[in-house]
Amino acid sequence: MRVLALLGLAFFGCEDAQPEVEGPDPATISEADRYGGTVVVGGLGEIQTMNGFLSRDYMTDQVQANVLFMTLLRYDADLEPRPYLARSWEVSPDSNEIVFELRTDVRWHDGEPTTAHDVAFTFNRVKDPAVPFPNRSSFDNWEMAEVLGPHSIRLTLRPNADYLHGWAALPIMPRHILEDTAPEDLATHPFGTSEPVGNGPFRFAEHLPGDRWIFEANPAFPAELGGRPYVDRLAYRVIPNETTLFAELRSGGVDMYVRLAPEFADEVLEDPDLRLAAYPFPNYSFIAWNSQRAFFADPIVRRALTIAIDRQEIVDVVRHGLGTPAVGPIGSWHWAYDSAWQPLPHSPDSAAALLELAGWTDSDEDGIREKDGRVFSFEISTNESRERGSIAELVQHYLAEIGVDARPRIVEHQTLIADVTSPERRFDAFLLSWSQGLVLDERDQWACDRIGRPLQFTSYCNPELDPVLDSIPRATDRAVQAVLLRRYGEMIAADQPFTFLYVEKRADALRDRLQGAEPDFRGELADVRSWWLFRP
C-alpha cells in the first residue's frame, strides 16, 4: 500500500518520500487476525436505493454490485470478464447464444437459494419498458432468456463486441420477493429503501436516509469466492460538505473518502496516516461549441480555440494534477486508445494565426477580433461547481490573449442541462464533463441524424463519420472495433466539435489502517470483500 502512496507522489512529480512509520508491519498480521471491525466509507452523494432496477449513480451501482448483491461476472484489472455468480459460460459458435452455469452455493440473505430463475426474472424486468431501468441500452443486443435448469440459463443475443459488459454491472434481484410486484410498481416497492435482501458478501443491516447505510458480513458467502468478508460491518456515510468529510477522514471518523476533492490531494500526501489512490477514470471535461453559431461553424476556428487553451495548466492548477490532457473522445483507460495519440499542442501564436486565416481579425484594434461586422464575443455556460467556475475563468483568460472575448456564465445545473439539451440549443458554448463506459456507442452525440435530439449538443455533422459510428456497435471483434473506434476518435479530434480538456483522474483518500483496498477504475468497492482493519 506504500506503493499507492508513492504512485500518488509520482502523479504530483515531487516531494520527499513520507517518513516510515515505526511499529508493527501489517504484513505480519495473520489471516485469522484480520477479522472484525467497522469500516466507514464517506462520500458527498446519497445512496438512495438498493433496488437494482432504479440505480442511477456511480456509488449506488457499486454498493449494489459489490456489497449487497452479486453480478453474473466481474471484470479483472485487464478488463477481462471473470466468473462470479456464473461459474462458467459457453458461447455458441455463431455467437448468437450463450449458456451461463450458475454457482449452486449462493443463497439470498433470507435463506432462499439463488437460481437461474432470479437471473431470468432480472433480465425480463430489465427488458420491460414499464420498468424505469436507466441502463436498458446495455441490454439492447440481448433478446431472450430461457431457464434450462435450476442453475443453468440460456440467453440469445445479437453478436457484438464486449457483449458481456452489461452483466458485469447488473445486480441480480431476488425473484421470490419481487415477482408479484407489477413491473410499473417496482420503482415504488419498499424493497429498495427499507428492506433489501441481497446475496452478496454483505447483508443489509440499517438505512438511515440522508445519513448512512450499514451492511454486515455475510457468513454464508461462498468460500470459493473468499468466504465471509474480513470486516464485521461496512458503513457508507453521506457527508455532503467536502471540508466536513475531509475533517472526518483526518480525525478517523471515516476510513475512505471517495472521490476526493482535488484541493485536498496535497494534504493527503503530507499526512502520514493517510494515503492517496489515483487512477484514470472514464470521464472527460470538455467545452462544447454550438456549431449553429457563426463563430463555431468553422473547424479551423474550433481548433484555434483549443490550442489557445493551456489544458495542462488547467489540470495542474484546478485539478492539482488529477487528470491528463485529453486527445479526443477516447481516453487512455480504454483498450482502443492509441498510445501514439498526442493532444493538440498549446500555442497561442498558432491559434492567432489560424484565426487570421479564418478571417477573424482585429480591424478596429479594440483587442477583440471581428469578421463581417460580427464581434468574436460569446458566453461559456457552466454550472455552479467551483472547479468548473475556475476552468471557465482560465479559459476566458487564455482566449482573451488571442483576441476572443469569452464570458463565463454560471447557472444552476438543471437549468444548464435544460438549456443545452433543448432543441433550440440555448447556449454559445458550455463546459461540462462526460462519463463513458466500456462500450463506446456515441452516435447520439455526433451522428447527423441525431441533430435536434437531446445529446447532439453541438449540431455537429460530418457525413463521413456517420458510417463509422454506425458500424462500431455492430463489430463483434475487438480488433475490428479498435480500428473503427480509432478512426472515430481521430475524426472527432480533427474536427474539434468539442475542445477536449482533460480525462479525470479519480482519487480516493484512505486511512492507513484500512488494508487490502486498492481502488481502480472498476470502482472503490470492487475488492471490498478482502478489506481489513489493521489494529496494532
Binding site: T38, V40, E46, Q48, T49, N51, L54, R56, P129, P132, P134, N135, R136, S137, S138, E184, A187, T188, P190, G192, T193, S194, E206, L208, P209, G210, D211, R212, I214, A235, R237, V238, I239, P240, N241, T243, T244, L245, A247, E248, R250, S251, G253, E412, H413, Q414, T415, I417, A418, D419, T421, W434, S435, Q436, G437, D444, Q445, R453, P454, L455
Partner: protein, 335 residues
C-alpha cells in the same frame, strides 16, 4: 375568568387566518418550481437513458399534464393527507418527513433554548453593569458573533474540533446525529452520544441569534431598571439580586417573547446550511436536495411544513405574550 375563552377564540381566529396564508405559500412555490427549468425527469440526465425513457418517466409522474391539472391533483391529494411520492428518494414523502422532521425540530428547539437562555443571561449581565469594561467587551464580541455567517462558523468549529491539536477529552462529533456504533450502546450512552452530536450544530445555528437576543435584552433591561417600581423595590430593602431577578428581568422579558416568532424562521433558514455542513439528516437538507433534484412533492411538503411551523411559532409567541402581559389580555377582552 373571562380572559381564557377569549384567548382560545383569539387562537382559533389566528389559525383560520393562517389557512389562506399557507395556501398562498404552497401555490406560489408550486408556480416557482414549475417555472424553474428542468423537471424530475431531466434530473435523471444520463447519457445511457434514452429520451424515450425520459418521456415515459414524465408520463408516469404526470408531468405531461397541463399545469393547472397537476396543481389541482396535487392539492386534492394534499388535503386528503397524501403528500405523494418522492421521485429522488424512491419512498413516500410521508416517510421522508417522518425521518427528517424530528431531526430538524430537535436541532431547532435546542438552538432556540440556547438562543434565549444565553441571550437573556448575557443581556441582563450587560445591563446591570452598563458601560463597564465587561459590558463593552461583550458588546464587541456579540456584534462580532452576530455578523458571522453560520456556515463559516460551522466550518471553523469542524476544523477546530477535528484538529489533532484538540485534546482527546474535548473532542466532539463533527457530523451526523449519532455515532456509527450507536446500535451497540446502552440507553445512557445513547443519550450522551446524541447530546454530544448536538453541541456543535446547535451552537453554530443559534449563536448569532443569541447575540441578537442579548442586544435586545440589554436594551429592555436598561429601560426596566430605570422604572419607578424598580427604585421602589430597592427602597423597600430588597437585595439587588432579588430586585434584578424578581422584578426587573420578568418585566424585561415581555418584549423578548415576541422575538420567538421572529427567530424561528431565521432558524429554519439557517438549518438548511447548517444541516449540510454538519451532515445533519433534517428537513433543511431534504428540502435543499429536493430542489436540486426537482423532487416536486418533497419541495412542496417541506415548504408547507416550514410555513406551518413559522405560522404556529408566531401564534405561540403572540399567545405567550398575552400570557406574560396582562395588558394584552385586557385589550383582547375589550374587543
Amino acid at each position: 375568568m373571562v380572559a381564557f375563552p377569549t384567548l382560545i377564540r383569539y387562537a382559533l381566529r389566528r389559525v383560520v387566518e393562517a389557512v389562506p396564508i399557507l395556501l398562498g405559500i404552497v401555490t406560489l412555490i408550486f408556480l416557482l418550481l414549475h417555472l424553474a427549468p428542468g423537471d424530475p425527469a431531466t434530473a435523471y440526465f444520463n447519457p445511457n437513458v434514452s429520451p424515450e425513457i425520459i418521456d415515459r418517466m414524465r408520463e408516469n409522474l404526470g408531468l405531461d399534464r397541463p399545469l393547472h391539472e397537476q396543481y389541482l391533483k396535487w392539492l386534492r391529494s394534499f388535503f386528503t393527507g397524501d403528500f405523494g411520492y418522492s421521485f429522488s428518494q424512491h419512498r413516500p414523502v410521508s416517510d421522508v418527513l417522518r425521518d427528517a422532521l424530528p431531526n430538524t425540530l430537535y436541532l431547532s428547539v435546542v438552538s432556540l433554548l440556547l438562543i434565549f437562555a444565553v441571550g437573556c443571561a448575557v443581556g441582563t449581565v450587560q445591563a446591570v453593569r452598563q458601560y463597564s469594561a465587561s459590558d463593552n467587551i461583550i458588546t464587541f464580541v456579540s456584534l462580532f458573533v452576530y455578523s458571522m455567517p453560520g456556515f463559516w462558523l460551522g466550518l471553523m468549529l469542524i476544523l477546530a474540533f477535528s484538529s489533532p491539536a484538540m485534546p482527546e477529552a474535548l473532542r466532539l462529533p463533527i457530523s451526523g446525529v449519532t455515532s456509527i456504533d450507536y446500535e451497540f450502546m446502552g440507553p445512557l450512552q445513547r443519550l450522551v452520544d446524541r447530546v454530544r452530536h448536538l453541541v456543535l450544530p446547535s451552537f453554530a445555528l443559534g449563536i448569532a441569534s443569541a447575540a441578537g437576543v442579548a442586544r435586545y435584552m440589554r436594551g429592555s433591561m436598561l429601560e426596566v431598571i430605570s422604572q419607578d417600581y424598580v427604585r421602589t423595590a430597592r427602597a423597600k430593602g430588597l437585595s439587588e439580586r432579588q430586585v434584578i431577578l424578581k422584578h426587573a428581568v420578568r418585566n424585561a422579558l415581555i418584549p423578548i417573547v415576541s422575538l420567538l416568532g421572529l427567530y424561528l424562521p431565521v432558524l429554519f433558514g439557517g438549518s438548511v446550511v447548517i444541516e449540510v455542513v454538519f451532515s445533519w439528516p433534517g428537513m433543511g437538507r431534504a428540502l435543499y436536495n429536493a430542489i436540486l433534484a426537482r423532487d416536486y412533492p418533497v419541495v412542496m411538503a417541506a415548504s408547507f411544513i416550514f410555513g406551518a411551523l413559522v405560522v404556529v411559532a408566531n401564534l405561540l409567541a403572540d399567545l405567550l405574550y398575552a400570557v406574560v402581559d396582562p395588558r394584552i389580555r385586557a385589550s383582547e377582552t375589550a374587543r
